[in-house]
């Protein structure tokens, strides 16, 4: 399992209110949520994001509300992986549960820049910045988490 795409870079404490503002929580439609993804921190995100792109951010990404709409909006917008120094715990759990790949790697988060081309190998946890040629090592997912993400989320993974 791998990810490969262009990086959209953000700072510390990117909260769930800027990822998907509450004014759009009157819908559970993935496509509709995606159309407002990152709206209050980066109005242009939905226009520039391409299938497979990667979000990189600093500490405490996804802090705030428990809204699963936040990782859903990110995944449905085409993002293949989020890399951050640290994640807020509910967002971390929600991302895995809905099958959005996320990796904690402080060194990668600090060094990778907006617009860099990055690839991720989820089996080894190796993050490669193709633009600069540098590599970083994150803790790889254990097989049961990889299974959840490959199947597209926890509910799919437990269905027979």
């Amino acid at each position: 399992m791998n990810a490969h795409g262009i990086v959209h870079k953000y700072g510390d404490n990117v909260d769930t209110d800027v990822i998907i503002p509450a004014r759009y929580l009157n819908t559970a439609s993935h496509a509709e949520l995606a159309s407002h993804c990152m709206e209050d921190i980066d109005k242009d995100f939905v226009n520039k994001v391409k299938e497979g792109d990667i979000i990189v951010a600093n500490k405490n990404f996804g802090c705030g509300s428990s809204r699963e709409h936040a990782p859903i909006a990110i995944k449905a917008s085409g993002i293949s992986c989020v890399i951050a120094s640290t994640f807020a715990r509910i967002f971390y759990r929600n991302s895995i549960n809905i099958g959005l790949a996320i990796l904690e790697c402080d060194e990668a988060a600090r060094n990778i820049q907006d617009g860099d081309e990055v690839s991720v190998d989820f089996d080894t946890g190796v993050i490669t910045n193709i633009t600069t040629g540098k590599t970083y090592c994150a803790q790889p997912f254990p097989p049961f988490i990889q299974n959840i993400i490959t199947k597209g989320g926890l509910m799919n993974s437990i269905q027979k």
């Binding site: 209110d17 509450a22 929580l25 559970a28 705030g64 509300s65 699963e68 929600n94 926890l154 509910m155």
Partner: protein, 421 residues
């Protein structure tokens, strides 16, 4: 090595004698909670996976509080979906308009949650119930869906920060000032993945409303849960209220904590969190009088919509008028608090002062309805988050405070020290 209070509750719910930080466990749950925003996503998952029934219709709580009374057609459709689900599975604790309150004010008041429980809720402020001596944490809709089917959830056992409280609070200083002070000290990720365990001789002086407010904002420090010991205040609150028998857990004497933070309650001053993070705190003395002009005041929410919150607001607003340029919105947490405010004459005080007094709703706290901010507007709010755009326009500003600071500020139109009238 001893266990923390959180670890003991988790061990008991996992059928284990002992757990330690970092251990993965599966715990049986006493209550699974959802609201009108998170439940529809969970119900979609529940139905998609072909579940035939819920694990226990008595142990699920569904509270229609965020965008209610329905703010628009889409919100109405979301509530309708949850209402149909509650009907179909005969969910006992389904609360709709007329009975509902803000979930974290309502469930303790109605005795749905209590000491010793293990609770998950698809709402980040589910950590509120730690005030009652329960393990309680926020999760997402998928965890809620799974838990409605199985009655279980997996957890990584957290380590803890001990917050030792000494002394007692001064007049017009409240639980909100305690938690804002703590978040200001440790930051919005200062307790990430960990428990905040409140201990010490100062606990006994804190009312249940203060404790609920403090535990409510544990998540704003990134904590998995916040928790208070069970004492006579807890048991008095639960008497004739809690629907089950309280189970009292206490931390072992030799429990291990990552660190201990001591807070002298007597030394705390009214505290305000500046935009755009709850950690940007300043004491009211650092803010200064007549420095920050405001457009709106909100007194309410799952953090500060309880009886003592409205009581202090009524005390400050009595026989006075809200500043002409300020919109003051006061929202009780539940129907019972609303009724109490009517009977005590507080509702009349609010209306005479020029404030609005609304039916319970989460409404403005998350920028849903009932008090959205426009471009460049500033609010003093007793809610829990002041993120960019949380209450409306991305160029609006939220200053988090206690009800006393909010009410005093409503009168002057500037952020104001309630202790210096």
């Amino acid at each position: 090595m001893g266990m923390t209070m959180t670890q003991k509750i988790l061990a008991a719910h996992a059928g284990l004698d002992y757990v330690e930080a970092g251990q993965l466990i599966e715990a049986n749950l006493d209550v699974v909670l959802g609201n009108d925003i998170t439940s529809p996503v969970a119900i979609n998952q529940f139905e998609k996976c072909g579940a035939k029934n819920v694990f226990d219709k008595e142990k699920i709580a569904l509270v229609m509080d965020h965008f209610t009374p329905n703010k628009d057609i889409k919100a109405a459709e979301q509530c309708r979906q949850v209402r149909n689900f509650a009907d179909k599975y005969d969910i006992k604790n389904y609360f709709d308009v007329g009975q509902m309150g803000i979930e974290h004010a309502l469930l303790p008041e109605q005795g749905v949650v209590g000491p010793g429980d293990a609770i998950i809720g698809a709402d980040s402020h589910t950590c509120t119930y730690g005030a009652l001596g329960a393990f309680s944490t926020g999760v997402g809709s998928t965890d809620m869906a799974c838990a409605m089917i199985t009655g279980k959830a997996w957890f990584k056992v957290p380590s803890a920060i001990q917050v030792e409280l000494v002394g007692s609070l001064q007049k017009f200083v409240s639980g909100k000032d305690v938690i804002l002070h703590l978040i200001g000290m440790i930051g919005v990720d200062g307790a990430l993945y960990r428990s905040l365990e409140f201990t010490g001789p100062g606990v006994a002086s804190l009312s249940m409303d203060d404790r609920l407010c403090i535990a409510n904002m544990a998540i704003e420090a990134g904590a998995k849960n916040g928790i208070f010991p069970v004492d006579h205040v807890t048991l008095a609150y639960c008497k004739d209220r809690f629907q089950r028998e309280p189970k009292i857990f206490a931390a072992d004497d030799d429990a291990q904590y990552d660190e201990t933070i001591v807070i002298d309650l007597s030394a705390l001053r009214p505290t305000v969190a500046f935009p755009h993070l709850p950690e940007n705190t300043r004491t009211i003395d650092e803010v200064g009088q007549h420095q920050i002009k405001i457009d709106q005041v909100v007194i309410g929410s799952c953090t500060n919509g309880r009886i003592e919150d409205l009581q202090v607001a009524a005390e400050i607003l009595k026989d006075k008028k809200v500043a002409k340029h300020v919109r003051c919105i006061i929202i009780p947490g539940t129907q019972s608090i609303y009724l109490h405010a009517l009977r005590q004459g507080w509702a009349e005080i609010f209306v005479q002062a020029g404030a609005v007094f609304s039916t319970p709703t989460c409404g403005p706290c998350l920028g849903g309805h009932m008090g959205i901010l426009g471009k460049g507007e500033r609010a003093v709010s007793t809610t829990n988050r002041n993120f960019v755009g949380r209450m409306g326009h991305t160029e609006s500003e939220i200053y988090l405070s206690s009800p006393a600071v909010a009410a005093a500020s409503a009168l002057t139109g500037y952020i104001t020290d309630p202790t210096k009238p």
